[in-house]
């Protein structure tokens, strides 16, 4: 028997999942796209995608028919690239597809099951097909089902599951073999709010464990915003936008909008002395750029000293929705600086 760590460690030791170690994160991308193109019947679906994705959780966004699912399927080896290639943990999808699939877990968008069997049996088979020996597969099937919250229902037939339970069962089969990269295709599709919150909690939990990277494809911007630190927006088969949400959020944190009550002249002077640029936008509102050394608590302290009430404080930030809409309005092939090569 070969060992799982043999596969994952030999050439990949330098890219082991260490999310909080920037030097190692920078060492090797999780996914690199090298001029990847895919055609179906002569019709181009993905057009020369280039880029490197390194985040723990990567959101894949785009309108219907943009090529998100085709990209995932191509990375899984379901479709052959018409030109170019991609690498996952440094392995070429054209020549090492089988080894790559050992490292990947996949939760498909549509209902996908083996009929007429209990959930634990189903997840066990999936683990065995991933290479786990019988006993380990059974043990991990139980563990995975407890992990996703189906522990009590694991002996029930899959056909009796609700939609939310089926989604969790699909997640369980995707993580049962402990993959290093998990593709989640519309994981919250059709879920009610509590089930959706539970699914997103699990995704965040896996992300925060630092043991696996996640590629989350969704048309729900909120889901992606809540779970992902990098986003890739695809439009008409091309990368429209790549952005690191974490960095975006950090940079957005400097821009504030305040609504105040009380005599504010001395207050704004004091803010100016703090080194912040400001602009009065109305009688009660002002915008300011917070300097590196200044903190929000300083604003409250100064407001207290000058008897000014801060009634509202907003970050002026580009939401993911703004970014997405901008990408849809702009032309093709526009990528943010520092993003994938286009």
């Amino acid at each position: 028997m070969e060992n799982a760590s043999d596969i994952t460690d030999q050439p990949l030791a330098s890219v082991a999942v260490l999310p909080d170690a920037p030097a190692e994160r920078a060492a090797e991308p999780v996914i690199s796209l090298d001029g990847l193109s895919v055609q179906f019947g002569g019709r181009p679906i993905l057009k020369e995608l280039n880029g490197e994705l390194r985040g723990r959780a990567i959101g894949l966004l785009g309108p219907n028919g943009a090529g998100k699912t085709t990209l995932i399927h191509t990375l899984l080896g379901f479709h052959a690239p018409s030109s170019g290639t991609a690498h996952i943990f440094g392995r070429d999808i054209r020549v090492e597809a089988k080894q790559i699939r050992t490292l990947i877990g996949y939760m498909p968008e549509r209902d996908s099951f083996i009929s007429n069997m209990s959930c634990v049996h189903f997840v066990r088979i999936m683990a065995e097909l991933s290479g786990l020996p019988e006993e380990a597969a059974l043990e991990r099937a139980h563990e995975a089902l407890f992990y996703v919250g189906l522990g009590e229902a694991r002996y029930r037939k899959l056909g009796t599951y609700s939609l939310g339970m089926k989604q969790l069962a699909k997640l369980a089969q995707a993580v049962v073999h402990g993959p290093r990269l998990i593709f989640l295709d519309e994981p919250t599709n059709g879920l009610d709010p509590p089930a959706r919150a539970r699914m997103l909690d699990l995704i965040r939990h896996i992300r925060d464990s630092g043991k696996a990277h996640i590629l989350l494809s969704s048309h729900l911007l909120r889901d992606v915003e809540e779970c992902c630190e990098e986003i890739l927006i695809i439009k008409n088969g091309r990368i429209a936008v790549y952005c690191n949400l974490e960095e975006e959020r950090k940079s957005n944190r400097k821009f504030l909008e305040l609504e105040t009550r009380g005599e504010r002249e001395a207050f704004v002077d004091a803010i100016g002395e703090l080194g912040c640029e400001y602009a009065l936008t109305s009688e009660r509102r002002l915008k300011l750029v917070l300097q590196e050394e200044a903190q929000i608590r300083d604003l409250y302290r100064i407001a207290g000293e000058h008897s000014v009430q801060i009634r509202r404080l907003n970050y002026k930030r580009d939401s993911l929705e703004d970014i997405f809409l901008k990408a849809m309005e702009e032309g093709n092939g526009v990528a943010h600086a520092g993003g994938p090569r286009t």
Partner: protein
């Protein structure tokens, strides 16, 4: 992961050899197959013929027993001679049972996975399309092997043991004929069954398709032969092709006693057999995909 810790953990233990993973499919399929008492009973019935044949071989060599029942050895030799015809007859009976077994368990093999959209789950793992198909075929191949060439070879060894080493050496070709004849049937049945299963989603329709293909191909073959007064209609008949192959393997040309102008040449039978398997493989490659691409 742990039941109590509820944390995500990668797996770092040993992995099974890659070549053996297709066997996971039949192992789990048998849980379903043998859950049916009807099938289990039928499968047990498939061993009656090998048992009877073993008893016959035993009687041939047990003078005391036959004397006790007033049976002369010469009579028995005339009625049931232990020769290539004996083993071919055994295979013919088992081939019919193999066909029934295929009709019982073959149709849902792939159609269920297609209906439940399970193919992406198989193929997103380190399992190729070929391994998936071989795994599905193995469900049938293992069961049919258990009732054809395995008991056939055991009967051959039993006869060799009772007759002596000389018989074993002189009739080694019979062992080869049992093995190759059985495997040609097994391949045909398994491949045809999974192909129909991949293209026909309804179990009943798939079962009817299997039986219909056998009957219609035989009827068409005979009809062409009869109308055009030619031997070449036989190439369309599954039963004539397989019979011709078996006859050549067991060195009993035209054992069915067809008019000589109707007997199909052996190379033509082998070529048709190969073409038929190739057609099945082609159809399978068109259908067994993780996702169908709409062009």
């Amino acid at each position: 992961m742990s039941v109590y810790e509820h944390a995500y953990k990668p797996y770092a233990g040993p992995l099974t050899p890659e070549w053996s993973r297709f066997l996971i499919i039949p192992r789990h399929a048998y849980r379903d197959v043998f859950a049916s008492k009807l099938f289990t009973g039928f499968f047990a019935l498939c061993f009656v013929c090998p048992l009877v044949m073993a008893i016959l071989i035993y009687l041939h060599h047990n003078l005391t027993f036959m004397a006790a029942f007033n049976i002369s050895q010469i009579d028995l030799q005339n009625v049931f001679p232990i020769n290539s015809a004996f083993f071919q007859w055994f295979l013919s009976v088992q081939a019919v049972l193999s066909g029934l077994l295929t009709v019982l368990i073959g149709p849902p093999l792939i159609s269920r996975d297609l209906a439940n959209n399970a193919l992406p789950l198989y193929l997103c793992r380190p399992l190729s399309r070929a391994e998936y198909v071989i795994g599905k075929m193995s469900v049938l191949m293992i069961l049919i092997s258990a009732i054809t060439w395995l008991p056939g070879e055991l009967l051959y060894l039993f006869q060799s043991y009772l007759e002596g080493a000389g018989w074993f050496a002189n009739h080694l070709w019979i062992a080869g004929a049992i093995f190759i004849g059985s495997w040609s049937s097994i391949l045909l049945l398994a491949l045809l069954s999974v192909t129909i299963s991949a293209w026909v989603k309804w179990r009943l329709a798939a079962s009817a398709g299997l039986v219909g293909l056998y009957l219609i191909s035989s009827a068409v073959g005979l009809m062409i032969d009869g109308v055009l007064q030619t031997r070449w209609g036989g190439i369309f008949s599954w039963s004539i092709v397989m019979r011709t192959i078996e006859d050549s393997l067991f060195r009993r040309p035209n054992s069915a006693g067809l008019p000589s102008w109707m007997a199909l040449p052996t190379p033509a039978a082998w070529i048709m057999f190969a073409l038929f398997l190739s057609l099945c493989l082609f159809l399978l490659t068109r259908k067994v995909r993780a996702y169908e691409v709409v062009r």
